[in-house]
Amino acid sequence: MTQNQTEKLQAIREAMQAARNDAHPESHLIGILHKVQEVFGYLPREMMDEVAQTLEIPTAHIWGVATFYHYFNLEPIGRHVVSVCMGTACYVKGAASVLETLKKELGVEVGKTTSDGLFTLQEARCLGACGIAPVMMIDEKIYGQLDSKKTVDIINQYRKAAAEEKSAVGAETRRGKP
């Protein structure tokens, strides 16, 4: 866990203690789960257990809330989240085939993460970029007018960037050795 994450986790624990003293601790549940996801990228079981214990909310109830909202991830997500727009405009422009290309290229189903932990594939409803349909969003960045080739090219750019970063870190580690 990074320094930043440790600090944020501390903040969550403080928020939970404050919520615990509230007349209705359960009203803080969703807010606290949001904070947990901000730190970990998903809702780890250990954290849901901790929320249950601290707020004194049955774990089954927390599980009900966590699974109800699509926003909450129940498994660790990849470094990059790839969301394919399945809105009407994108759909008629071939979003389904973009999604198929991504499933094949990444080797995962929707909602799943690649084994190298680099990508999580998701579906989205209208990203508001209908003019350049079909689109996908990787993290915060929109890519439009996609076809199969273009989609694969973009994925490869991210792969290349990740590989370069890795070798740079490796080189740095090697340089650091006496």
Partner: protein, 596 residues
């Protein structure tokens, strides 16, 4: 009393109380509005929409279970349009439901089936997408089958509101919603206490007991086994319902005769071991009282309560009696004392228990209860399973000539009979403890203070000038509320009885399903079953456990005396803290609602 208001139902005016729902008012006036997710003991969910009615001035139909009456309200319950809408609602539920009624365990006993019939659904107009899920067979006692689930939520509310176990939730959303424990944990690893109340309130077969009827039929046909059966007090008071009889008939003699016809060599009565339990438990209580042991002492007969204790109240383990339950004591003396007496190899005994309970299946498998490398009870079947086996074997339980149980584990006192009703164990224990402690006869042996369906009952008796304060709780939610009192003031009571199910064992998770014109866990029904046991007690000449001649003989020939080393070896057990995922702390705040 508040002022009456006027409503009209189907064009006729009626004076009714305000502050009630349309359904409640209609019920009292004799209009039975069809319903599914509603249960009077549970919070209102309004999920199924089966109970819709027309209210003049409202744009849409309203759910009568959730909508309050008001002055001048004009309600229609049976218009053609309403009938069609209700029928469509049921049809849409049916369309995602497996079409396997003829092979389903609840066939003939299913609320959805009854509703479909009463709506006049005679064809399928829609072909909906089917839900496909694996059955969860992980628990010893309770099977979960999400394919059969219609998401009425009664099990979730029962588990959290009445039992306060909070094991179940509706996870995911829309068509993908599934009732499951936290993290989709297998039931066997979850906080489920195996009480089986989810089975009792489920309208379909989404929850069932783990069925042992086939295995039992096979073993009944094994010539190398000596087949011994025992049956719980409450089974005799309820099994008639599974044969269409009215609630509250004592079918003891007919059940004994039927079990013999099924192929059992010896039919014993768990009430015998109930007397034995009282000998041990009353003695243990007096020992604690006289030697400054841990008080209040809490009873240990209810297996769902045992799991609840180990999970939620590990701090109170020293308070709980070390006595095994009557079923396990009976199993133990069957495979030791009885086997020796009859010169039978105990390993050749098939020890079967017919129980009103699903948690007894879990209890029978507890390794802590084993002795000499054996289980005391090999197979537990519920009242429902036993009724099915008796029917399946072509035995006419209703008209069969009643028979007596076998010796030497068949005779019981009236105190043993009332074990099946909430407060019964306390009453039986008082009858014996008083006389053992004072050496005098207890004149008024019917302890009214601990009878009845109040959630938590308190009472006291004076023994040789010493006031003994007792309390009784039934249903795990009430038990938890009572135990919070104990945590806050450990000296408030001396002796506590806890039963995991509403009404005690008569309301057990393995009892016959609600018949037509009844609802699960109907208070009137529970009262009638309990009354059958109190009547049984009254009719007996022996009404105190310590007067049971066969129990006295058992001590003389085998156990020596209550709490002797032999008793401890076979009749007592221990508990340990368990922490499966899903535990939350118990305190005043987490125990929502009042005792019911």
């Amino acid at each position: 009393m508040s002022r009456l208001i006027t409503i009209t139902i189907n064009d006729k005016p009626y004076q009714v109380e305000p502050n009630q729902t349309i359904m409640q008012a209609a019920d009292k006036l004799g209009f039975h509005i069809p319903r599914l997710c509603y249960h009077p003991k549970l919070s209102i969910e309004g999920a199924c929409r089966v109970c819709i009615v027309e209210v003049e001035g409202m744009k849409n139909y309203v759910a009568s279970c959730a909508f309050p009456v008001s002055d001048g309200m004009k309600i229609r319950t049976n218009t053609q349009a309403l009938r069609t809408a209700r029928r469509d609602i049921i049809e849409l539920i049916l369309d995602n439901h497996p079409q396997d009624c003829h092979t389903c365990e609840r066939d003939g006993n299913c609320e959805l089936q009854r509703l479909a019939a009463s709506m006049g659904i005679r064809a399928r107009h829609f072909e909906g997408e089917r839900k496909r899920y694996e059955k969860d067979l992980s628990s010893e006692a309770v099977i979960r089958d999400p394919e059969k689930c219609i998401l009425c939520g009664r099990c979730v509310r029962m588990c959290s509101e009445i039992q306060q176990v909070h094991n179940l939730t509706q996870a995911h959303r829309g068509f993908h919603t599934v009732v499951m424990p936290a993290y989709n944990m297998p039931m066997g690893e979850s906080v489920c206490t195996a009480c089986g109340q989810c089975i009792n309130v489920c309208p379909t077969a989404a929850f069932l007991e783990k069925n042992y009827t086939q295995e039992l039929f096979e073993k009944l046909n094994d010539p190398n086994l000596v087949k011994v059966v025992q049956f719980a007090p409450s089974v005799r008071a309820a099994i008639g319902e599974a044969f269409g009889l009215e609630p509250g008939l004592n079918m003891e003699g007919q059940l004994i005769a039927s079990l013999r016809k099924l192929g059992f060599d010896y039919v014993f009565d768990t009430q015998f071991a109930a007397d034995l339990t009282i000998m041990e438990e009353a003695s243990e209580f007096l020992e604690r009282l006289q030697s400054g042991g841990v008080l209040p002492m809490i009873t240990s007969c209810s297996s769902a309560w045992m799991k609840c204790l180990e999970q939620f109240y590990p701090d109170l383990i020293p308070n709980v009696s070390t006595c095994k339950s009557p079923m396990s004591m009976q199993g133990a003396v069957t495979k030791t004392y009885f086997a020796k007496k009859k010169k039978i190899d105990p390993r050749k005994i098939l020890s079967v228990a017919v129980m009103c309970c699903t948690a007894k299946k879990y209890e029978a498998a507890r390794p802590e209860l084993m002795f000499d490398g054996m289980r005391g009870v090999d197979i537990v079947v519920t009242t429902r399973e036993a009724a099915w086996m008796i029917k399946s074997a072509g035995i006419d339980l209703v008209n069969i000539q009643p028979e007596e149980p076998d010796h030497p584990l068949g005779i019981s006192s009236g105190a043993g009979a009332i074990f099946g009703a909430t407060g019964g164990v306390m009453e039986a224990a008082i009858r014996t403890a008083y006389e053992l402690y004072t050496g005098e006869t207890l004149v008024d042996i019917e302890v009214e203070a601990v009878r009845g369906l109040k959630g938590i009952k308190e009472g006291s008796i004076v023994m040789d000038g010493k006031e003994i304060r007792v309390a009784v709780a039934h249903g795990l939610g009430n038990a938890c509320r009572l135990l919070e009192r104990v945590r806050q003031d450990p000296s408030r009571y001396h002796f506590i009885e806890i039963m995991g199910c509403p009404g005690g064992c008569v309301g057990g998770g393995g009892q016959p399903y609600a018949q037509i014109n009844s609802i699960p866990l109907d208070d009137e029904n529970l009262r009638k079953r309990a009354q059958a046991l109190y009547d049984l007690d009254k009719a007996k000449t022996i009404r105190r456990s310590h007067d049971n001649p066969d129990v006295q003989k058992l001590y003389k020939e085998f156990l020596q005396s209550p709490l002797s080393p032999v008793s401890h070896q076979y009749l007592h057990t221990h508990y340990k803290a368990k922490t499966p995922v899903g535990i939350i702390p118990r305190n005043e705040r987490t125990l929502s609602g009042d005792s019911k």
